[in-house]
């Protein structure tokens, strides 16, 4: 008879890393669905491409590094990365954009640091920024939301558009970008930025068709869907409430201040909270456990920092949506935040207290 040797504890609760990642992916689904409805099926094609690329890239690197491939592929972290990147880029960006982005995320930002858990930066967001500054044209190809689309695309069209930049019917992306009124439609955030830069007031800007609804057509619903998914994650105790709350708090406070000071030059807090990638960022991106702060106090600082940066860059910076930059900048600060927010260990005096 032989005996098994193991080290204590001999008992584990059974929520595994891969199931956590699966939950995250699951919680994304409402958001993805709304995105697909409002902005076309391109997002699904992008998703497919991203996931395949992510798996391939991960597998190749693991094989080169002589590590077990299967356990690491099935932890599904690459899947989440791919998913979050795919929903961040314009749905009809050419196929090589998402391929380059995902490969960069997995290879450079994740695996070069040693793989899951070792990376300092959020892979999806680093890849997004890379794509944004490398291929600004493709990365600003947002189509008009469904109610405003002059031409609606079938799922098949989506494939054609992503791979050839023309719909199967032969419309170019530039044509597709034109709304029903023949005017190219940018995202509401971009529009606000552009119009303010052009010297319009917000009231003037809001008359445009993109701004129907609380925060622009479609975007409000997208954000709402991600909010719902995020609340599910909190309820499942997969993410802690601290980061999203702090982030939204930071963004809300600053934008409220700005709005109260000059409501015609600064969009309302609600607009900020429900535009662009705010909710996605708050619940899915800023909460990436690997690159976020891990201490309770640190998470609050980290969230507020992102919120503030988002507002500052959206308002004063050169980019319409600032989530990716803000997250990366905050990632940079995480080691320092973590270091200075260590909790007081049992039996030790609090740092700085003269007890």
């Amino acid at each position: 008879m032989s005996f098994k040797i193991a080290s204590s504890p001999h008992h584990h609760n059974r929520r595994s890393t891969s199931s956590i990642m699966q939950w995250v992916a699951l919680a994304c689904l409402p958001g993805i669905a709304v995105q697909a409805v409002f902005f076309g099926y391109g997002v699904l094609v992008q998703l497919l491409l991203a996931i395949i690329t992510a798996w391939l890239a991960e597998a190749v690197i693991l094989i080169i590094r002589r590590k077990a491939v299967l356990p690491r592929l099935t932890d599904h972290s690459a899947l989440v990365t791919a998913l979050l990147l795919a929903v961040s880029i314009p749905p009809y960006a050419p196929w090589w954009v998402i391929v380059i982005g995902t490969a960069f995320a997995i290879i450079f930002v994740k695996q070069l640091y040693g793989g899951l858990g070792n990376n300092l930066f959020n892979p999806a967001m680093a890849a997004y920024v890379l794509l944004l500054i490398s291929f600004p044209v493709q990365m600003t190809q947002w189509l008009a939301p469904l109610p405003l689309q002059a031409v609606t695309l079938s799922p098949l069209d989506a494939f054609c558009a992503v791979f050839t930049q023309f719909s199967c019917g032969g419309f170019s992306i530039a044509q597709l970008q034109q709304g029903i009124d023949g005017i190219t439609v940018a995202t509401p955030l971009d529009m606000v930025r552009t119009d303010l830069a052009q010297g319009y007031t917000l009231t003037e800007s809001y008359t445009k068709p993109v701004f129907q609804g609380i925060a622009g057509v479609g975007w409000f619903w997208v954000n709402l869907a991600y909010l719902a998914g995020g609340l599910l994650l909190i309820q499942q105790k997969i993410i802690s409430w601290r980061i999203p709350a702090a982030l939204l708090f930071g963004l809300f406070t600053l934008s409220a201040l700005g709005w109260l000071a000059a409501s015609d030059a600064n969009p309302s807090p609600v607009f900020h909270l429900f535009s662009g990638a705010t909710m996605l960022a708050a619940f899915f991106i800023a909460t990436d456990p690997v690159s976020a702060s891990t201490t309770d106090r640190g998470r609050l600082y980290y969230g507020v920092l992102i919120g503030v940066l988002v507002y500052v860059i959206r308002t004063f910076g050169g980019y319409p949506d600032a989530v990716a930059f803000a997250v990366l900048l905050a990632n940079m600060c995480v080691p320092l935040i973590d270091y200075y927010t260590r909790p007081r260990t049992y039996g030790h005096k609090a740092k700085g207290s003269l007890k």
Binding site: I133, P136, V137, T140, A174, T184, A197, G199, G318
Partner: protein, 209 residues
């Protein structure tokens, strides 16, 4: 102690003197050449905008600074005047588009006194590389489109990007930059037309080193 100090001091001074000697002599040798190079480089830009200008040195000297922030983007812009046989053939204006995507776009525009654009170049800008930077001559020919276009106050609709119904193409995904450039050039051309006294202002630019 004094000895030690003076030894140090003298050593350092000696090295300094040797170095200065070397550099001073080299400076004397190269000074004319450098001055010439500098002049040439300044002329090169002017010449690009106004290829026909022959005696560019005179052009460089015949320069006045004007304060018209409304029309030329900021105050203290230089206006060079190209004259041949005492006839004023063209102005070269520094102008600035204040409403670029990420900041000011500095331009040099050559305009004939009757408001026809003879040439234009972007001198500096902060537009997004790959998107807004197609206004550079290095990146595309777009900026040369303006040569030969005339501008009158009545032309306002024509002087716009095609998206706004004008005759200048914007580039994909970036309308703001072209819009800003078009407007700036238009304003500069109008400014020349509405300010004939420009020709008479004394040359008062300090020569940039």
């Amino acid at each position: 102690m004094i000895q030690h100090i003076s030894k140090n001091a003298l050593a350092l001074a000696l090295v300094a003197i040797v170095c200065v000697l070397v550099l001073g002599s080299l400076d004397l040798l190269t000074k004319p050449k450098i001055a010439e190079q500098r002049l040439l480089s300044q002329l090169a830009i002017l010449q690009e905008v106004l290829p026909d200008a022959t005696d560019s040195r005179a052009l460089l000297a015949d320069c006045t600074q004007v304060d018209a922030p409304e029309q030329l983007g900021r105050s203290g812009q230089k206006v060079y005047r190209w004259r041949q046989d005492n006839a004023l053939l063209a102005y070269l204006l520094e102008t600035t588009a204040p409403d670029g995507y990420s900041g000011n776009i500095d331009l040099l525009v050559a305009v004939s006194p009757n408001g026809t654009v003879l040439g234009s170049r972007v001198v500096s800008h902060q537009e997004t590389p790959g998107l807004g930077d197609k206004i550079e001559r290095r990146r595309s020919d777009w900026i040369t489109l303006f040569s030969g276009k005339s501008a009158t106050p009545a032309d306002a609709t024509r002087w716009a990007v095609s998206k706004d119904g004008g005759e200048f193409d914007q580039f994909t995904g970036a309308t703001i930059t072209p819009r800003a450039v078009v407007n700036a050039i238009y304003r500069a051309a109008l400014y020349v037309q509405t300010h004939p006294e420009l020709a008479l202002l004394p040359a008062n630019c300090e020569i940039t080193p």
